[in-house]
Amino acid sequence: MLGYFSSWTDFLGMGGHGFYVWLSYAIAALVVVYNIVSVQLKKRIFFKQAKRRLKREQKQL
């Protein structure tokens, strides 16, 4: 029993609208993942470059 659905198959089928419902939720998941990954990537790239710059500056001293 899963809320309004009698079985998992029923839940996945969404009364014949399974394709539409799951496709749109997949896109929503992708948007969430994109936002998390892109900000983490931006952060990682900054620190990588900043550390390199720091090392260069320390060598010159």
Binding site: Y20, V31, N35, F47
Partner: protein, 250 residues
């Protein structure tokens, strides 16, 4: 004329203070968005009753409406932050405005894509050139325009100012999106939530939607803060406080 603002306004405008303060907020926003989005998704997908006409395809509403609301809220924040940056010459406001654009664009894609998928079983077409859909597509292009314009400038300040002006001009599209369902005959249904009226659906249907909307707002706040923090570090990379943070990490 000089307009004086309260103290917190200027504190928030200090890059270091912004970095430290958002550092405290981020874990709470992460927790809130994880909890709200999980509850909202499970509730909306399995426990909300199906629509008597649309059946289960109506469950798309739980991501479609929050995505559309966030795309518009994010645009308004971007334009207002840009205006604050232009008027008071506050660097931090431009950081926020710039960070809004890619997040808002992703929310506009979500609203458009989930709307198209929802349209197929409901209207029989993936896309119609309806006022609401078209104005939403323009919103997406405005985000792309703001991002493209900003990246066209070598100089950060010029990019900030030009994209702020474009964002402000594009603000005219926001009321058009809102009233498109009233001004023109459209296939799109009117707003689910209105401040002046009770929702047309029963609470079992709109409560999970409300949870999802709050969840999306928390998530937006979360990614906006993380994005803006990195943007601050990039712009302030020559200052001693940023160097100290980099050293600590090395």
């Amino acid at each position: 004329m000089k307009i004086t603002m309260p103290r917190w306004f200027y504190q928030l405008a200090s890059p270091k203070w912004f970095y430290d303060f958002t550092g405290i907020l981020i874990p709470w926003f992460a927790l809130a968005s994880a909890v709200l989005l999980t509850i909202g998704t499970v509730w909306g997908l399995a426990f909300a009753p199906p629509d008597y006409q649309q059946g289960n395809s109506f469950r798309i509403i739980y991501i479609h409406v929050p995505g559309a609301i966030l795309a518009q809220s994010c645009y308004m924040l971007m334009a207002v932050a840009g205006a604050i940056g232009l008027i008071w010459k506050i660097k931090m406001a431009h950081v926020v405005a710039k960070s809004c654009a890619p997040i808002g664009a992703s929310m506009a894609i979500l609203a458009l894509a989930s709307g198209a998928i929802w349209g197929k079983p409901t209207w029989g077409a993936w896309w119609v050139w309806d006022a609401r859909l078209t104005s939403m597509l323009i919103l997406f292009f405005l985000y792309l325009g703001v991002m493209a314009l900003h990246s066209a400038f070598e100089n950060e300040t010029s990019g900030d100012q030009s994209s702020a002006v474009l964002a402000l001009v594009g603000l005219v599209n926001i009321p058009i999106i809102k009233y498109s369902v009233e001004w023109w005959n459209t296939l799109h249904q009117p707003a689910t939530f209105k401040l002046t009226e009770k929702p047309a659906m029963p609470p079992e249907m709109w409560l999970p939607l409300l949870v999802m909307i709050f969840g999306f707002y928390c998530f937006f706040g979360l990614v906006l803060m993380i994005r803006a923090r990195t943007e601050v570090l990039e712009r302030e990379s020559r200052t001693s406080w940023v160097k100290a943070i980099v050293e600590e990490r090395a």
